[in-house]
Symmetry: C2
Subunit: 693 residues, 2 copies
């Protein structure tokens, strides 16, 4: 066991401050960070310079372990996995406690330490997290060699990313390196088709669909994604639909700045409590530091409401109904999932102010209904309208309503849109007052409501299949693709020209009827390639036109969703196609609804609650609405899941939380007991529970 040169006592701090402190204390030292990583039964202890970012792809390549990828062992698991209780994993710990650690592991170092003669000192945290230790690099390497005699030959590789990007503090690396990100970055998708099935590996399937249907591209800031034209077009279509509807309700669009002062952001205390850890802060421009950091909006209540207080004077200024389409940033550290949970996302946020609570509530529920229509009529995704429990309510709201989608394949619920009645909470904090008709001053009642690009992810997860994306017809940028077929070397130029004229004519008919049609007339790819391509991209209908279709009474249209071919009458063709698109939409919605219904089970006992969960279902259970009761349910259901996971590796180990209290309650009488076996409170409603995103 190597001896350290010097111990420096200090409190816990961010990794950046720690690096600065170490470099101040020992100017020539290299501060290092270490990761305890595991993949099944393989464990490695990897050390890299603390200011660098771990390159998981390089690790995978170096060790030959790609599936399951290496994951960071979380601090909460140290005792379970390593057999000893530790507050910090550090190089010191690994060398000091090596014999106590129950797992056999391999020491690995970044290449920079092999040739690090110029900087022979290393700084690492002490085991207790109460300070740091300075070692010579040579003593460390000798210490490791004692444990592993081949180490100097096999223990080094280029383990860091060449460009460093933002990383969370070393204490939580596991959060940063999510499974999805890795499975994406570590794999090259050279083949055209989807290589895993939705049933076998939902997560990888989803990522493959996103990539191969060209919906989304990964980006070098973790948790941020590029929306490619094929994905962005879906957003444009639902945006236009929703925008027209809220304008018809008298809502006006506007734009508030993306930056929010610290003072404004912190004014509503429950609100900031909810968002504080996720807020990204701008602290400088160029090299010039700001006196006070400025927040990037996680949502715009606190940007807008100071101005509402200026604009609203009299009851004649009410209602005030504003909306904006914008981007927001929420710096979440839990698993980013493209579309579903990303650090930046696009959304609309409506903000309205009213004279009475009744008017505000009415609007909040009208908007909720509009969200249901958006999902069901546009995206063909059935949703459950409901009210959020106290535990799941928006920070600062009196009531939060939501529409919830059920992703049946993994058995997880997903909040699809929310509509909040804020009551007078923000009005009091931001002093938004008006003089009512009786010349009394009073606070306004407010709503805020929003849906995001998450809607695209929900749609993809709901409908797509193992051949790729399946677009619900109404959100397809292309609803029908026309592929000229049946040409060979024998086809004469005249025949070709006739075919092209025919496809152009059919295309024009379709466009005139308002059908979004496209002719794929490329000559550098085969007909088969085109079929695969448009199938992968999920275009709802494909019309195949060969020489014999020129005179046919009906044309063959392949339906992406069913995989079947329909013969569509040539006369009134465009109208028939429109009807076919509608019927595909209806089928997709009905089919998704029946999947949801199968998985949603009314339960009365704690045992059946957990049975439903185990079957990736959604228990609808009598519940008291209590926050602590809900926490108990989540923790206990997670515990039971973990026990089962020990038997069956594929079983999920997440607990259930409440998705919503459905507005449409079962006709059955509410039982006397809350679903929680230890709860003494009377149930208030049937509440929909489930694992969730």
């Amino acid at each position: 066991m190597p001896k350290f040169l010097r111990e420096i006592k200090h409190p816990a701090m961010s990794i950046q401050s720690w690096i600065a402190k170490m470099t101040e204390e020992e100017p020539t030292c290299v501060p290092v960070k270490s990761f305890f990583l595991s993949s099944k039964n393989r464990f490695v202890f990897l050390t890299i310079p603390a200011d660098k970012r771990l390159n998981m792809t390089a690790l995978s390549r170096f060790t030959g372990v790609s599936r399951p990828p290496f994951r960071v062992v979380r601090a909460e698991k140290y005792e379970e996995v390593l057999g000893v209780k530790l507050s910090t994993i550090s190089l010191h710990t690994a060398l000091d406690r090596h014999v106590e650690l129950k797992v056999p592991f391999q020491f690995l170092f970044d290449d920079s330490f092999r040739a690090a003669d110029a900087k022979p000192l290393i700084a690492c945290p002490s085991s207790e997290g109460s300070g740091s230790l300075i070692y010579t690099l040579s003593s460390i390497l000798e210490g490791v060699t004692e444990v592993d005699k081949d180490f100097m030959k096999k223990g080094f590789f280029a383990a860091v990313e060449s460009e460093t990007v933002a990383a969370p503090p070393a204490a939580e690396p596991s959060e940063e390196i999510s499974r999805l990100d890795l499975s994406m970055k570590g794999t090259s998708y050279s083949k055209l088709g989807i290589e895993v099935t939705k049933e076998d590996n939902f997560v990888e399937w989803y990522v493959e669909v996103l990539k191969k249907a060209e919906l989304l591209e990964y980006y070098d800031v973790s948790g941020c994604y590029i929306l490619r034209p094929w994905g962005y077009a879906i957003w444009e279509i639902v945006k236009d639909w929703f925008d027209a509807r809220i304008k018809a309700m008298g809502v006006e669009n506007c734009y508030f700045p993306i930056l929010i002062t610290k003072a404004a952001l912190q004014r509503e205390v429950n609100h900031i409590d909810g968002f504080a850890p996720e807020v990204a802060w701008v602290t400088k421009s160029g090299d010039c530091e700001f006196a006070e950091p400025i927040a990037i909006r996680p949502t715009s209540e606190t940007a807008m409401y100071p101005t509402f207080a200026k604009w609203i004077r009299s009851h004649r200024d009410l209602p005030l109904k504003l909306n904006q389409w914008s981007n927001v940033l929420r710096w979440e550290f839990s698993h980013p999932t493209p579309f579903i949970r990303s650090r930046e996302f696009l959304w609309q946020e409506g903000h309205t102010a009213w004279e009475t609570a009744e008017e505000a509530t009415r609007e909040a529920l009208e908007i909720l209904e509009l969200y249901r229509e958006l999902y069901e009529k546009m995206l063909a995704v059935p949703v459950v309208k409901g009210r959020k429990t106290d535990k799941e309510r928006f920070p600062g709201a009196d009531t939060t309503w939501s529409v919830e989608a059920l992703i049946t394949q993994p058995g997880r619920g997903c909040q699809a849109a929310t509509s909040h009645f804020l009551g007078q909470n923000f009005a009091r904090m931001f002093e938004i007052e008006f003089e009512n008709a009786n010349r009394e001053r009073q606070h306004v009642y407010q709503n805020s409501w929003g849906f995001t690009t998450r809607s695209i992810g929900i749609m993809i997860m709901t409908h797509s299949d193992s051949k790729g994306l399946v677009l619900p017809p109404r959100v397809g940028k292309i609803q029908i693709v026309i592929v000229p077929c049946g040409m060979s070397t024998k086809t004469t130029p005249e025949e070709k020209e006739n075919l092209m004229k025919f496809t152009a004519a059919v295309n024009a008919e379709l466009c005139a009827e308002g059908v979004r049609s496209h002719v794929d007339s490329r000559t550098n790819v085969s007909v088969g390639w085109k079929f695969n391509h448009w199938e992968l991209k999920g275009v709802p209908l494909r019309l195949e036109v060969g020489p014999k279709e020129l005179v046919a009474q009906a044309l063959p249209v392949a339906v992406r969703y069913t995989g079947e071919k329909e013969m569509v009458q040539r006369s009134d063709f465009a109208r028939n196609v429109r009807l076919l698109l509608d019927s595909v939409h209806d089928k997709m919605l009905a089919c998704a609804r029946s999947r949801n219904d199968e998985r949603t089970k009314l339960v009365h006992s704690w045992e059946s609650f957990n049975d439903v969960l185990r079957e990736k279902g959604f228990p609808l259970a009598p519940h008291c609405g209590g926050k602590s009761c809900e926490e108990y349910i989540k923790a206990q259901s997670a515990e039971l899941s973990r026990e089962r996971a020990a038997e069956d590796k594929n079983a999920p180990s997440m607990g259930a939380k409440s998705l919503c209290v459905p507005l449409d309650q079962p006709s059955e009488r509410l039982p006397d007991r809350c679903i929680s076996p230890v709860c003494e409170n009377t149930p208030l409603s049937f509440t929909l529970f489930g694992r969730s995103y």
Copy 2:
């Protein structure tokens, strides 16, 4: 003169670092900052805690000076104004050099110093800027009392904003507190109409129009503005127009993240040199600092092009034509002007990649033409198409083309949109290569092009008048407002109902014809109030309908732009209104064009160049295109302007820069000499010069 307790030597640093340093050196001290402010002949020397933000409104209230508002004396002017050369203004300077300073001034302190017994130490910069000085507060207050015996009675007021927001370092306060911001914040606009004329005070007129037409609202982050629905609607209309046109050209919309890693941002060296000082950096989320700061996009070349390199493999992947509608941040310290120069703005940015330079150039010029149409056909603003000189080119581009608007009232040019041919500069840096038809690898050629919400500001400045906003018909959210008139206490309910039916019918006719019409049927405001209101908001046409119009052959329509009333035939009314809207558009464009033409003068001598400038005109002058020659012209024309400003206080003192080299060159032969009197180079073209935004 009070004695300081202690001197601390240190280099110049940001105000935040300085506060931290002072607090470390003297934990109980209050670091202070001071401002030398003037309004006409009144000077005050104001000291506040360094971590607070000066409240100019409070100063205005306390001193009774509101117009012209107090402005910070800029460091460059210290010698001129104060009579002594100083590198820093500090409390120490003011007390030490009091007798030398030629202006009589009043010492003022923030209220917190009156009752500051608990923290009796003050830290302020030394006069030379080489360090800081620690004083006891009491010695300071005694020192000031020696100079001004009433000081303890009259020298304190609450001078800081209750909420501190981001401020630039103390060295540049003058930049932060721009004239526009102050004139806005310090004034309340209670009256309905515009109180200054466009001719008398252009800057205040502009701000009044923005506020009173409800286009824009100020915000508590300096340089960021709220786009209100009336202003945002203009953006929506031009956006939809442009979006449809680029889609017709095959451009697809997408969305790239707002965050850019430092590594990506810095990859093209000329590009980052151009943007570095303006980039805002996110450095933490919640309390957690990032290992590396992340940039907020000032433009997206560096966010997009690493991915272009992934997507583009073969010549079949080209051209790649993407566009995004997004927000960007450029942290400029020079005078923010709403719409025209703001720190956050909305824009579209097109990014395309091509096989050959010819194709790319052709597209860049097609887009330039589209921008001209956008301005001329939608906003009725005539623009000059041209090429930017080397000095004014986009950082990283081979060629920048632009359309330039001329704001004739203040005599300033304004870059209205740009289209850049980037050549292979970014392709080389980001390794964007493809295999051409001959199977050779080569770099792509690229364009980027954009226009912003600045277009709205240009439109307002061009057309609006001293009665408020004047909307060009095609961008009016409301093109015609119908105001029921002529009702009195004698009007029967039946007559009222008939009138309402009639207005509803006319409104429906107009909407059916595609005219954006609105009936103002409010009963709680008078007809006169409505007339003023819609005039202020710039609605192009106003139809007045009283009982006698129900049977009339023609209806009276007031034209906002001319202030005249036209009688429009009742039969085919909607079509006639559409024609009237078009003719108003044409008139507005023609009138603005003739103003531009009057101010644009072909010049051959340096003297006439400056004469044209003095008359707020735009000299079109033979020029060699040289960068240093252009810098000389700017500096010299500024010098001449300053000399004139000394005679005439209203004369502007800004120098002229090149706006563009117009594509449409005068038919006249180019002279032999460059316009600069000291330049020996041969002129290459007639170049349009002017003062500019």
